[in-house]
């Protein structure tokens, strides 16, 4: 199969969805001639024109409102939040209106919009352009939250998200944009709410999201040389969350390590850990469920500090090794 980058896979999904359905359009800052801050929408304006690749003023609440209002009246918008940090300016529209309208109106409104957000640290962009805020949205009934970790996943998950009749928060990790992998040329969907067993193993279950899936895979390679076999599960969508493969895996391995980039306190790992403990996997646990997550701090500018603020491959190797050996 041909290999393309995560970014190219995203662009291809957007293009194919727009070719197939004229209700689909993209709206955001600098997405037209500029091609998006990271280049995801490059060239799309040439094919679809400024009426469907809509450049906006710097108005995040306006972008989110444009998605909510056009979705509820029959369109299928894709909004782009240039850096996921900026979503805080659009929170009212997403959380108070977009997520709740269907319920408040007695289940009679449909809000098929996707909000794409470039997320994560590792680019030297410091505290206001590097956050991982996905768990804010996990806490909001009415939303779905997608965290694609590979080129194959990002295309299939975006096409599923566009086909959804609910608001979807779609977090694209900046460090994954250039990562290449096999991606089918045809349109295909990956269902939301289905966890993916990325690697099989018997000694430890690692549940990782977004860029951490890649880092967990690298860590697993290292550990395999030591005879430690890691099972990696990528939930793909943190809301809704498919617990079944996770529970099954923890029953098999008896140990679970959760890895995410967002800060540990109040993060998704706490929720996931509780869900494991509340499940039948509890009786099979040989060690406490462990979390490896971002430090409780804003992302620092300094390259070394930034590196150490979030889990890296060597941290995963170390934590996994300790857990497998019973040192924790």
């Amino acid at each position: 199969m041909r290999e393309i980058s995560y970014m190219e896979a995203l662009r291809e999904a957007i293009r194919q969805a727009m070719e197939e359905d004229e209700r689909v359009f993209v709206i955001g800052e600098d997405i037209g001639v500029y091609g998006g801050a990271f280049g995801v929408t490059a060239g799309l304006i040439d094919q679809f024109g400024p009426q469907r690749i809509i450049d906006t003023p710097i108005s995040e609440a306006g972008i989110a409102g444009a998605c909510v209002g056009s979705a509820v009246t029959g369109m299928r918008p894709i909004g782009e939040i240039q850096f996921s940090d900026f979503v805080v300016i659009a929170m009212d529209q997403i959380v108070m209106q977009g997520a709740k309208m269907r319920f408040m109106f007695g289940g009679k409104a449909e809000l098929p919009f996707v909000m794409r957000l470039a997320t994560g640290s590792g680019t030297g962009a410091a505290a206001q352009h590097s956050e991982s805020l996905e768990n804010w949205f996990v806490h909001i009934p009415g939303l779905k939250v997608v965290m694609p970790s590979s080129p194959y996943d990002v295309k299939g998950l975006l096409l599923s998200s566009i086909a959804e009749n609910n608001p979807v928060m779609f977090f694209e990790h900046k460090l994954l944009y250039k990562v290449k992998g096999p991606v089918p040329e045809d349109m295909y969907t990956i269902p939301l709410g289905k966890s993916h067993v990325v690697r099989e193993g018997n000694n430890l279950t690692i549940i990782a999201t977004s860029v951490m899936v890649m880092r967990a895979q690298q860590a697993a390679e290292t550990l395999a040389k030591e005879g430690i076999e890691i099972e990696i599960i990528d939930p793909r969508t943190v809301k809704p969350l498919d617990m079944e493969p996770i529970i099954k895996s923890v029953i098999k391995t008896g140990k679970a390590l959760i890895v995410h980039e967002a800060v540990k306190t109040g993060g998704f790992g706490g929720e996931l850990s509780a869900l494991i403990m509340e499940s039948e996997a509890f009786d099979y646990l040989d060690a406490p469920v462990q979390r490896l997550a971002g430090l409780d701090m804003p992302i620092p500018y300094n390259r070394t500090l930034e590196y150490h603020a979030v889990p890296q491959v060597e941290n995963i190797v170390e934590e996994a090794r300790k857990l497998v050996k019973g040192v924790y």
Partner: protein, 326 residues
């Protein structure tokens, strides 16, 4: 309604029979809200509501100037607009009482009442919440080339939210078919207009975005009708949005918790002299007998609606999680 050429035109724009119908909706809105207050006092309903008593002329004049397939984006103080848009009093009352037969199956209440099927996109409880949404509705209309318009309502308070700025700018740069109708009732909860604004007219903000802005007497049904009609013509032609500031006054408190310590009784009394209902009745030459008849018809309609709502079932607890996701 069939056009009757013999019929008198009220204010040069409204057939007499249509105008009378609108007056009866104004009376109905007021009686509905007065009745709701009584129900609160008797402990028959819980929660809160935001009465529009004194502001009925805006509702009576606004949506009748539009097409049936246009969109309404309402506010939390929107009972009148809801009724004039075509809302059924029984289902509205049922929503107010939190019943399954209500417009929103009792999940929204007075503050979030909507009827998406009739393009009534509902009330948002967040001040200025509907302003960015109107940009999306306008875009959708423009892309679908449907020549509809989006009537967006908000109060004076909403114009001091950032969302107002983003919304008006975006709608104007893209010539979106949105009518921004600001109901300036002089108070954002307790914050008086004079304290919250350094300008005399909210409509003067329009020049900052490049759209027309006008201030009208919001207690004059005909003035509201004409302004909305003109804005709708402009919007449908592709000439973009209009900001209309309708100056009015809220007689009641902001919501049920308001003790109204921020204004004087005298001020309220002075505004009551400009009550839009007797004013419109006078314009229509309605005598006391006819007016009383209108009131008793409204009361009867409300009685039936209360009966319907009270005898309607409560939502089944087993359905508690319904309607969150499609």
């Amino acid at each position: 309604m069939a056009k009757n050429k013999q019929e008198k035109l009220i204010g040069g724009v409204l057939d007499e029979s249509r105008a009378k119908e609108l007056l009866s909706k104004m009376v109905l809105t007021r009686k509905f809200e007065e009745n709701a207050e009584e129900m609160f006092a008797l402990g028959k309903v819980h929660g809160t509501m935001h009465p529009s008593v004194g502001q009925e002329a805006i509702a009576a004049g606004a949506s009748p100037a539009l097409r049936k397939d246009d969109y309404l984006l309402n506010t939390h103080r929107g009972h009148g607009h809801f009724l004039v848009w075509g809302g059924d009093l029984k289902r509205m009352m049922a929503e107010f009482l939190g019943k399954e037969t209500g417009y929103c199956r009792g999940r929204g209440g007075s503050m979030h009442i909507a009827d998406v099927e009739s393009n009534n996109l509902g009330s948002q409880g967040i001040v200025a919440g509907n302003l960015p949404i109107s940009v999306g509705v306008g875009l959708s209309i423009q892309m679908r080339k449907s020549e509809q318009v989006a009537l967006t309502l908000f109060g004076d308070g909403a114009t001091n939210e950032g969302a107002f700025h983003e919304s008006l700018n975006m709608a104007t740069i893209w010539n979106l078919p949105v009518i921004y109708l600001c109901e300036n009732n002089q108070y954002a909860m307790s914050m008086a207009f004079e304290k919250a604004f350094k300008i005399k007219q909210i409509s003067s903000r329009a020049c900052a975005y490049g759209l027309p802005g006008i201030t009208i007497d919001g207690n004059d049904v005909i003035a509201v009708y004409k302004a909305v009609q003109e804005a709708a013509i402009r919007a449908r032609k592709g000439d973009g949005p209009t900001l209309i500031e309708a100056v009015t006054y809220r007689y009641r408190g902001h919501s049920k918790s308001d003790r109204q310590l921020y204004r004087t009784r005298e001020e309220v009394k002075n505004w009551m002299k400009k009550d839009p209902i007797p004013r419109f009745a006078k314009l229509l030459d309605i005598d006391e007998k006819e007016f009383k008849k209108m009131e008793s018809m409204a009361k009867e309609e409300i009685r039936k609606a209360v009966e319907f709502a009270e005898s309607s079932p409560e939502p089944d607890i087993d359905t508690i999680l319904e309607g969150i996701y499609a």
